[in-house]
C-alpha cells in the first residue's frame, strides 16, 4: 500500500476500492454471526469528544466512522473520505466525502465533521482529548481550546455538503494517520443539538458506523447490531457484536474457556502454558507501547541522577532479556529505544548496549559508577516509584536485584494510580515507572514525549533533540532524524527503557479478520466473521 505523506509536496489524490474481509476459500460461515469480546472495565463514554480509553475507542469504531479507517496492517484506507488532496505547502487538505447516511437515515455531511471538531475544541465541551486537535496542528485549535478565539475559527470548513477542507499551522507528516482516531469522528449535528448531552445514551445515539447500539448495561455488557444504513453494509458479515465486562482477568480466561467469550487477554505469565495447550488460539503480537523507568532530572530530582554516568550505568546493567523471558513471558521485546521497534518507518540506531554481551555491560557499568565515585561501599540510593500492579511490582523487584551488586540501592515505593500520576506531573519522584502508547503509527508519537515542551515528566532537555524533531516536520526522509534522536536518548539516558509491549490474547480460532499486524491493535468489527467449526 502507498505511503501517504503531505510532505511529498505533490497534489496527492487517492482513490482505492473499499477493503473488505471476505471468507477465504474453503471456509464456511457459521450460522451465528456473533462476536463476543472481553472488556476489562465499563466503557466510560460513547461520545467521540469525551472518550479517553481503549474500551471506548473499540466501541466507537463500531458506531462511527472517521475520514480514514485502517486495514489489517494499520495502513490508512478511505473511510468517510473517498479521496483527498493535499496542497503543495502541505498546509491544506481537501477531503471528498462519500455518499453515506447516519443510522437515522439522514445524510452524513461535511458540516457534521466541522461541528464535531469545533465541539471538541470548544472549552465548554471540556474534552479531555482536545489536545488531539493540537497534535494534528489544526489552525487555531490551541487558541480556541484556551478560550482566546471562537470555535468557528477552527481551521476546518465545509466547502459544500461533501467537501471538507482542513487547514494546518505547520506541515504535519503524520496528519493523515491521525484521521482514524475516535476524537476526529463526525457527529450528527441535528441529533446532538436536539438532545444535548443525552444524545449518547442508548436509544438516542445516532452514528455512521457499521453498527448501531442495541443496548448498554454499564459495566456489564454492550451490544451492537449491524447498521443497515452503513455505506458498506453489504460487505459486513458479523451481525452482532457484544462487549462483556469482566473485571478480573483470570475469571475472564475461565469464561473464555467456557465459551462465553471469543477473545480475552492472557493474564501475565500464562502465555507459555496456554500457547502449548492451545497453539491456534494463544496469540502474541506487538502492541505499540513502551515501558520505562523515568529519571527525574528537574530541579526537584536527586543530584546523583544528574550525573550521566550513573544513568548510563543503570541503563547498561538492567537485564531486559531476563525481564522479558523470565518475568513477562508473553512475547514482549527488550527495549533499547523509546520508540516501539515495530513503528512504521522506524529503525533503531545500530550498535550501542543492545549489541554488548551482558558481562561487558556490567563491567562498563561498574567502571562508570566508580568514575562517578560510587560502588558497593558507597552505594547510590534511589527511590523507584510505581503504581499498584502485580507486574510493575515484579519488574521493580527484578530491577532492584540487577542493580544491587553494582552498588545501586533501590527503595521501592508503591503508590496508587492517582498519586503516581500526580507526582509524575509535579516532579515529586526520583525514578518512576512509566509507559507510553502510540497515538498513531509514526515515531514522533514516542519521540515528542522527550521534547523540552513534551510531556517529559523527568524534565530532560536537549537542544539538538528538539531541533531534530522540528526539522523532521518538513524533511523528505525522516528515518535518519528519528534514528539520531534515539541515539541522543541512548547517550543521555533520560530514562531506562525496559520493554516494548505485546498483546497477548486468546482468540477463538473460529473468529476471522482480527488484525495481527496492526501495531495500535485497531480492529473494526465490520471486518470480522465467524466460520463454522
Amino acid at each position: 500500500m502507498t505511503k501517504l505523506f503531505a510532505t511529498t509536496a505533490l497534489l496527492t489524490a487517492m482513490a482505492m476500492p473499499a477493503w473488505a474481509v471476505q471468507p477465504a476459500e474453503g471456509e464456511t460461515l457459521a450460522e451465528n454471526q456473533t462476536y463476543t469480546y472481553w472488556l476489562l472495565d465499563a466503557i466510560k463514554s460513547l461520545d467521540p469528544a469525551k472518550n479517553t480509553d481503549v474500551e471506548g475507542s473499540d466501541a466507537l469504531r463500531s458506531l462511527f466512522e472517521g475520514l480514514m479507517i485502517q486495514d489489517a496492517q494499520g495502513e490508512m484506507i478511505p473511510g468517510m473520505a473517498e479521496t483527498f488532496e493535499a496542497s503543495e505547502d502541505g498546509l491544506t487538505y481537501t477531503f471528498n466525502l462519500r455518499e453515506a447516511n447516519w443510522s437515522n437515515g439522514d445524510p452524513v455531511t461535511a458540516d457534521d465533521f466541522v461541528y464535531a471538531w469545533q465541539r471538541v475544541a470548544t472549552p465548554e465541551t471540556a474534552s479531555e482529548y482536545a489536545w488531539y486537535l493540537e497534535l494534528m496542528n489544526i489552525e487555531n485549535a490551541t487558541q480556541i481550546i484556551a478560550g482566546e478565539m471562537e470555535p468557528d475559527q477552527l481551521g476546518v470548513t465545509a466547502l459544500d455538503d461533501r467537501t471538507l477542507q482542513v487547514r494546518l499551522t505547520t506541515p504535519t507528516p503524520y496528519f493523515i494517520k491521525t484521521l482514524s482516531h475516535t476524537t476526529t469522528y463526525p457527529i450528527p449535528r441535528a441529533v446532538v443539538e436536539e438532545l444535548g448531552d443525552a444524545w449518547v445514551q442508548p436509544g438516542n445515539i445516532v452514528g455512521n458506523g457499521a453498527y448501531t447500539l442495541a443496548s448498554h448495561n454499564l459495566g456489564v455488557e454492550i451490544v451492537f447490531q449491524k447498521n443497515p444504513e452503513y455505506w458498506d453494509a453489504e460487505n459486513v458479515l458479523m451481525e452482532t457484536v457484544r462487549g462483556v465486562t469482566v473485571n478480573d482477568n483470570n475469571v475472564a480466561l475461565t469464561r473464555y474457556q467456557a465459551g462465553e467469550l471469543d477473545r480475552v487477554q492472557i493474564p501475565a505469565g500464562q502465555f507459555p502454558r496456554l500457547s502449548e495447550e492451545f497453539p491456534e488460539a494463544a496469540v502474541s503480537v506487538p502492541n505499540g507501547c513502551s515501558y520505562a523507568y523515568i529519571f527525574n532530572l528537574s530541579e526537584k530530582g536527586p543530584e546523583v541522577l544528574k550525573d550521566a554516568r550513573v544513568r548510563e550505568a543503570m541503563a547498561l546493567s538492567l537485564n531486559r532479556e531476563v525481564i522479558v523471558d523470565q518475568v513477562l513471558q508473553g512475547g514482549q521485546e527488550p527495549a533499547y529505544s523509546w520508540t516501539h521497534w515495530a513503528i512504521d518507518g522506524f529503525s533503531a540506531p545500530e550498535g550501542g548496549m543492545k549489541d554488548m554481551p551482558m558481562e561487558a555491560r556490567m563491567a562498563r557499568a561498574t567502571e562508570l559508577l566508580a568514575e562517578a565515585g560510587y560502588g558497593p561501599d558507597n552505594p547510590v540510593r534511589i527511590q523507584l516509584q510505581y503504581n499498584t500492579d502485580d507486574s510493575h511490582r515484579l519488574l521493580a523487584i527484578a530491577a532492584q536485584q540487577f542493580w544491587r551488586p553494582l552498588g545501586i540501592e533501590i527503595e521501592l515505593n508503591n503508590v496508587e494510580w492517582a498519586v503516581h500520576t500526580d507526582r509524575l506531573q509535579n516532579q515529586d519522584f526520583e525514578m518512576a515507572r512509566y509507559a507510553w502508547c502510540a497515538d498513531y503509527d509514526e515515531a514522533t508519537t514516542f519521540l515528542d514525549w522527550f521534547r523540552t515542551t513534551g510531556y517529559n515528566s523527568g524534565k530532560w532537555s536537549n537542544e539538538e533533540y528538539d531541533k531534530l524533531l522540528v526539522d523532521a516536520r518538513t524533511a523528505e526522509d525522516t528515518a535518519p532524524l528519528y534514528s539520531r534522536a534515539e541515539e541522543i536518548l541512548a547517550e543521555e539516558n533520560p530514562a531506562v527503557f525496559v520493554y516494548h509491549y505485546a498483546d497477548v490474547d486468546m482468540i477463538n480460532p473460529a473468529i476471522k479478520g482480527l488484525p495481527r499486524e496492526n501495531l495500535l491493535n485497531t480492529w473494526y468489527a465490520k471486518d470480522l466473521y465467524r466460520v463454522a467449526e
Binding site: S45, E128, Q201, N217, V251, A418, D422
Partner: protein, 307 residues
Amino acid sequence: MFAFILRRLAVAIPTLLLLIVFSFVLMQMAPGGPFTGERALPPAVLANLEAQYGLNDPLWLQIWNYLVNVVVHFDFGPSFVYPDRTVNQLIANGFPVTLTYGGLSFIAAVVMGVALGVVAAIWHNSWIDYLAVGISIGAQVLPNFVMAPLLVLVFTLWYGLLPGGGWSFSNPSFWIMPVIALSTSYMASIARITRSSMLEVLGSNHIRTARAKGMPEHRVIIRHALKPAMLPVISYLGPVFVSMITGSVVIDIYFSTGGIGKAFVDSALNRDYAVMMGVTILVGALTILFNLIVDVLYAWIDPKIRY
C-alpha cells in the same frame, strides 16, 4: 417510642451534613484529581474541565453548591469519569442490582445461619453440633475472593450450569453465584453468634420454668428461647444488612454485576468526586436508617429495653 424515632431522625440530619462536609474535604485533600492521567492534560484543557465541573471555586462554595443541588434538586451532579451519565443515573442503575443480590444474600445468610446455630445449640456437643460448627468455620475461612473464581470454575467451566458473570433481572441464574459467594461468611458468623447466644438462653431460668411446666420442647425453643437468643444476632445484622445491600467490591469484580460496590471503590481510586459523594451519602443514610431500625427491633424483642 415515636418520640424516640423522631429524636433519632432529627440527629440523623446533622450527622449526614457532617459526613458530607468531611468526605468532601478529605476527598479534595487526596493527591491527584479526576483528570490526572498517564498523559498530563495541557493547562488550557485542564482549566476548561475544572471550570466545567466547578473545581476552581473555593472549597466552601463547592460544598455549598453541592449541598444545594443535593437537598433542593436531589441532583448528585454529573460523573467526572463517566461523562455520559449523571450520578443519579449511575446509582439508579447499580443500586437495584446490589440491592437484589445483597438482599437475597442477607436472607440466605440469616435463614441458614440461624438454622445452623439453633440446631447446633439444641444438639449441643453431638455430631450435628460438630457438623454445623465445621460448616460455619469452613465458610468463614474461605474468603469470597477465593470462593468467587472457584464457583465460576466449577459451575461455569466444568459443569456449564450457570453464566460466569453479568447480570439480568429477569434471569435468576445470574444471581446464584453472587449470593453464594456473598452470603457464606456472613452465614457462618450468624451461625456462631446464634449458637452461643442460644446456648446461654437455653440454660437460663425462664427456659427451665417453661420446661418444668411441661411445655413441648419445640414450643420452648421457638416461643421462649429463640426470641431472646436473637438479640445479639440482631445487633450484628443491622450493619451487616447495610454492608450487604450497598455492595461488595469483590462480588462486583468477579461476577461483573454492575453493582455499586465496585463503582464506589473505583470512584475513590479515579477521584470521581461526584460518584464518591453520591455513594457515600447513600451508604451513610442507609447506615443511620438501619441502626435506627435495629434499635426499634431491640425494644420490640426485649421487654427490658425502653426508650
